[in-house]
Amino acid sequence: MCHQTVSLAARHLEANGIPTVIIGCAKDIVEYVGVPRFLFSDFPLGNPAGRPHDPESQAFTLDLALRVLESAPAPRTTVQSPLRWSEDPAWKLDYSNIDRLSPEEIARRRAEFDRQKEIAKTIRDKPAKAQ
């Protein structure tokens, strides 16, 4: 949802003359929406700006994003960061992978999802306060 939100926001800013670059980790979602410039890090969701406790990777990622911003020749420019999350790509098989969950875990997650949805609804329906 988060990648869709920033993709829609980038499109809206660009359509109004403001250049953008997205940094993110969900390549298919961003490219499916369709955005001008995207620096993709093939990292677990939550790390669009570099690896945790690794300032060098964070500096590298921001600089690469700035390079994408200044040099993209056309819309739908995706650059993939050369940084690797780990040598072993096995982490990619875990995220929301239904084949790896027991029926009990699926039931637990459904109940938890419904509970969180109710909480979100309560916040959403509250009158907005200015910030």
Partner: protein
């Protein structure tokens, strides 16, 4: 490894970007929810060229992270999904100071990252360093927080125009958007 692949140095078959749309579709269907989510999807993509060198540009930052809110449950690091700190209107913060932003309201990868280091999702300190190093002209006076909403209408009709108004008021030349 098959004979055919041997010696070519191919990466493992699964070592490719995760197909999130497919994963999420299968996941929620298995959980028992009905019609799959319809993701936003466009054939045309707008493109605004950068009009001046970055070293002379004012650069803004947009995040989907939420300010830490005491009393709203575990917000991490390592918190389970927590909808309580979610927000539904655009918010803004002073770029000159540090902020405690969290991502417990977002479905990030809880198996493989713990959300301990906010510099991995909110590169404001890094952006300030880029300004000091003259890589960019300056950091915009405010950063902005975008609500993540399943409703396309809420995002497109309400939140995007609000973000544009704020970014325009900041007179930015370019914007970095960090997706968690």
């Amino acid at each position: 490894m098959t004979d055919r692949e041997e010696g070519f140095g191919f990466a493992p078959e699964d070592d490719a970007p995760i197909p999130y749309r497919q994963r999420i579709r299968d996941y929620y269907q298995a959980l028992g929810y009905g019609a799959p989510y319809r993701w936003a999807h466009y054939a045309e993509v707008p493109f605004a060229p950068l009009n001046k060198p970055l070293a002379e540009s004012r650069v803004g930052l947009v995040t989907t992270a939420a300010p830490y809110q005491p009393g709203k449950g575990d917000q991490g690091p390592g918190a389970p999904y927590n909808a309580a700190p979610k927000f539904y209107t655009v918010y803004s913060g002073d770029s000159a100071i540090d902020h405690d932003l969290r991502i417990s309201h977002i479905a990030y990868d809880r198996d493989h990252t713990t959300a301990e280091d906010s510099n991995t999702w909110f590169p404001l300190p890094q952006l300030r360093r880029a300004a000091v190093a003259r890589r960019i002209g300056e950091v915009a006076p405010r950063f902005h927080g975008m609500p993540t909403n399943r409703s396309h209408r809420a995002t497109i009709d309400r939140d995007c125009p609000e973000l544009l108004a704020r970014v325009r008021a900041d007179r930015v030349d370019a914007v970095i958007l960090a997706a968690v």
